[in-house]
């Protein structure tokens, strides 16, 4: 109960499960007695558009929006969506980045270029050294569904020791938010993610 302010930013494409991720963390934080604010906008942005969730918990949290540079964790579910939100990245920010690209329509039409992954990472590296990039989508496909990529990434952040909540609270959050028919798969994805996180940690 000693956390004043913990800021998580989740950036991705509509349909990737960013909103589900924000809800899981939110439920876990409320279970542990924290004040919670999740800032997001629903509507137009849901269907294949850029989607951002600001998840904040702690005893001094009032605003649903994160101050610039102040994200403790940035979950980049898609590389350019992570980069689009670089203003929230500061020295302290840990970045969990899924490297699987989803080119927007404007790129498929040939009207804009999708930047190289190395170039994307180079910007983050100028600001923080805490970058963990990985193809989480492949791990999700191995588990049988691309839709658990979000939960694997959550597990990885937890395995890296980045999330100041209890594992049981997050599991309870998964039970509260995920529909019953995908529950077992998501709990398994969380475990798989934790192991990836621990491996990433020792690799670092």
């Amino acid at each position: 109960m000693s956390i004043e302010e913990f800021n998580i930013l989740i950036a991705g494409v509509g349909g990737q499960g960013g909103l589900t991720l924000s809800r899981i963390i939110g439920h876990a934080a409320v279970l542990e007695g924290y004040r919670l604010r999740i800032g997001e906008t629903l509507g137009m942005s849901q269907r294949g558009g850029a989607v951002v969730s600001f998840v904040r918990f702690g005893n001094r949290v009032f605003s649903p929006l994160i101050p610039e540079r102040d994200a403790d964790i940035l979950f980049g579910l898609e590389p350019i969506e992570a980069l689009r939100n670089i203003k929230f990245v500061g020295e302290k920010t840990a970045i969990i980045l899924n490297i699987r690209k989803i080119p927007p329509l404007i790129v498929n039409l040939g009207l804009r270029k999708y930047p190289d992954l190395e170039e994307i990472l180079s910007f983050f590296k100028k600001i923080t050294s805490r970058i963990h990039s990985y193809d989480f989508s492949i791990e999700a496909q191995k588990l049988g569904s691309i839709r658990v990529m979000n939960t694997i990434m959550l597990g990885a952040a937890f395995g890296l020791g980045l999330i100041p909540l209890k594992s049981e609270s997050i599991e309870q959050g998964i039970r509260s938010v995920v529909p019953r028919k995908y529950l077992e798969l998501n709990l398994k994805a969380f475990e798989v993610g934790k192991k990836i996180g621990k491996d990433l940690f020792s690799f670092d």
Partner: protein, 632 residues
């Protein structure tokens, strides 16, 4: 956790709830008995949530055909003595304004709350309308919560105010309240039993007597004066005063949460805050007392200087010597929503000190360089969206008839299909207000333009406000094509039912009202129903209609791909034959389908099997037969 269980939970229980879910619970706690509305971001989830528990909670809940009707139904229920709630987004309150204005004169019996969701930024609204101004025209009181907990709790305050003074109350929320999820503690559900009964009182309710109207105007003004006396106490405001304070801030609504966070984080003991929970009328005595205590008072509010101008006028009237700082002094912008940075900057300017905790460096430049290489990602039309087929066919028909793009004005309307303004479709020329496409298209023809005019309008938008202009064009024999994009749902706001769906908000089966029956009843002779997945059929029908002399209507009917997908009604999976694909990209350029990906290394396209809906539009478009059915 099942939302139903949360909404029906016990007092004291605490949950992570979205603002709109909290408001739904607030309606239950305040013993509201009838809730109506029309879907509109950011307010839709209030009725979506209540519809789940309507029966258990003993509340009648409906999605009405438009906001005016929704308000009138709520008014009728309130005049029978029950508590009623009506919800709408900001443009919706404009639609309902006519009867709202009259209701201010009639007043109410049971509590009547009009919830309006403003959208500073705007995230999903035509304008950044600041609905607070409507209180000046209607005189109606306005309550403004600042977060999801208050959004739930203040409903009780609004209903008590409404019933104490027999007047409708406007409840203003903004996107960052409606769509913020927060820890919310449930409260007591109060139980008021009233039998619905409308007491006859023509002098009060019949607006035909001009003398009576003038008397009700006097009643209204007197009522507002009484309310002014009543609200000079909490909970209509909250005062956070510090003994050491030299500065004051007056704020309301969501702006308060940014002020509070900055003051707590930087331990700014030199600032006192007056938070207004009612923004019409204003508690003038409390405000005057606050103004007298400080030399400099900052007004923090999003959008227009609504509080600021009134507070400046008050200071002038009361001869208070104080510096009042706000929009006119450039402290905050008139556009966009607040962020912590904007509010922090204004507070820094107020206290003349820097609050930044960050060391200055060239990080801003890194941000700006990075953002330059990020391509935009606006929401596309979904894979399998029937609207893609409709606009594809419309553009083909124009080409086939050897018309130039500028020869056919395509008027758009409110709904997902408005996304067709983007590449690759670049289809609609306008998007204005609900139903505007038809009237505006008619105006072009009646002005004498030789251009052809097409109005494209969705099914629910047609029911909402498209029928009246249709009647008008038939009466005046206007030669336009109305293309009704019927995907069997209100897709953009989250798939609510409408009169053409045959079900109600609470899932009950009812009579399905057919668009073609209405169209034929108005006397339109050219009426076709086509399947927008059939490009050939749809194109031919549009060509015929564009050559037809007189009003014509084509109904492009195909269920929304998201709804169909949830029912397991996807088509077969399509794949690209790499040998046959020449990389012409026609499939992407014509359909705009997000499931088709360009592989730059191979100069060919591929279809993402996870996204492909199986609509077949790309296969129909491909001149090289390079896209074929794989399987599912």
């Amino acid at each position: 956790m099942d939302l139903r269980k949360i909404l029906l939970g016990k007092p004291g229980e605490k949950y992570a709830m979205m603002g709109n879910e909290a408001i739904a619970r607030g309606a239950i706690e305040a013993c509201v008995k009838l809730v109506t509305g029309y879907p509109g971001t950011p307010t839709s989830e209030i009725i979506d949530s209540l519809a789940l528990v309507a029966k258990e909670a003993g509340i009648y809940v409906e999605w009405s055909v438009n906001e005016k009707v929704a308000f009138e139904i709520a008014l009728g229920a309130a005049l029978s003595g029950l508590r009623a709630l009506v919800t709408m987004k900001a443009p919706g309150i404009n639609v309902a304004l006519d009867p709202i204005m009259s209701s201010a004169y009639s007043g109410t019996v049971g509590g009547l709350v009009i919830l309006v969701g403003d959208d500073p930024h705007p995230h999903t609204t035509q304008t950044e309308q600041d609905s607070r101004w409507l209180t000046k025209m209607t005189y109606l009181p306005m309550i403004e919560p600042s977060d999801p907990q208050e959004a739930k709790d203040f409903l009780k305050i609004a209903y008590e105010l409404s019933e104490n003074f027999e007047i409708p109350v406007i409840y203003r929320t903004t996107t960052r309240i409606n769509h913020t999820t927060a820890d919310v503690t449930l409260g007591e559900v109060i139980n008021i039993y009233r039998e619905a009964f409308f007491k006859r009182d023509p002098e009060r309710y019949v607006r035909a007597s001009m003398v009576g109207n003038r008397q009700r105007h006097i009643w209204l003004l007197n009522t507002i004066e009484k309310i002014k006396q009543h609200i000079e106490k909490p909970p209509f405001y909250e005062l956070i005063e510090k003994d050491s304070a030299q500065y004051g801030i007056i704020t309301a609504g969501v702006s308060y949460v940014y002020v509070r966070e900055i003051i707590e984080k930087h331990q700014l003991d030199e600032i006192s805050v007056l938070k207004l929970n009612i923004t019409n009328p204003l508690p003038e005595t409390v405000i005057s007392r606050f103004l007298r205590k400080y030399d400099r008072v900052l007004i923090l509010e999003e959008l227009d200087p609504f509080l600021e101008l009134q507070i400046k006028e008050l200071a002038y009237r009361e001869k208070i010597n104080v510096e009042i700082l706000g929009k006119e002094e450039g402290y905050t912008p008139r556009v966009d929503e607040f962020r912590l940075e904007i509010v922090k900057k204004a507070i820094e300017k107020l206290v003349s000190e820097k609050l930044s905790t960050h060391s200055p460096n060239d990080i801003e430049q890194i941000y700006n360089e990075a953002l330059k290489i990020v391509p935009p990602r606006t929401p596309p039309m979904c894979p399998g969206c029937p609207h893609s087929g409709s606009y594809l066919a419309l553009k083909r028909a124009i080409r086939n008839l050897k018309l130039r793009t500028e020869d056919v004005a395509i008027f758009g309307d409110i709904g997902c299909y408005a996304l067709s303004f983007q590449p690759p479709w670049r289809a609609i020329w306008t998007e204005h207000a609900m139903g505007s496409s038809i009237g505006m298209a008619a105006g072009l023809k009646l002005a004498g333009s030789k251009q052809k005019a097409v109005a494209t309008i969705g099914d629910s938008t047609f029911f909402h406000m498209g029928i009246q202009p249709l009647i008008d064009i038939v009466q005046h024999k206007v030669n336009i094509l109305i293309l009704i994009l019927d995907n069997g749902t209100i897709a953009m706001t989250g798939h609510q039912p409408h009169p053409g769906t045959g079900i109600t908000a609470t899932g009950e089966k009812t009579r399905r009202i057919l668009i073609e029956d209405i169209v034929k009843a108005t006397g339109v002779e050219f009426v076709r129903i086509v399947d927008p997945y059939d490009i050939e059929q749809t194109t031919r029908a549009i060509e015929e209609a564009l050559n037809y002399d007189g009003p014509s209507v084509i109904i492009a009917r195909r269920e929304c791909a998201i709804v169909a997908g949830r029912k397991g009604l996807r088509g077969p999976l399509f794949k690209v034959l790499p040998d046959k694909c020449v990389g012409c990209k026609l499939c992407i350029v014509e359909t705009g389908c997000p499931a088709i990906m360009w592989i730059p290394e191979e100069k060919k396209v591929t279809i993402d099997p996870a996204l492909c809906f199986g609509c077949s539009l790309c296969a129909q478009v491909c001149p090289y037969n390079a896209i074929i059915v794989e399987k599912r």
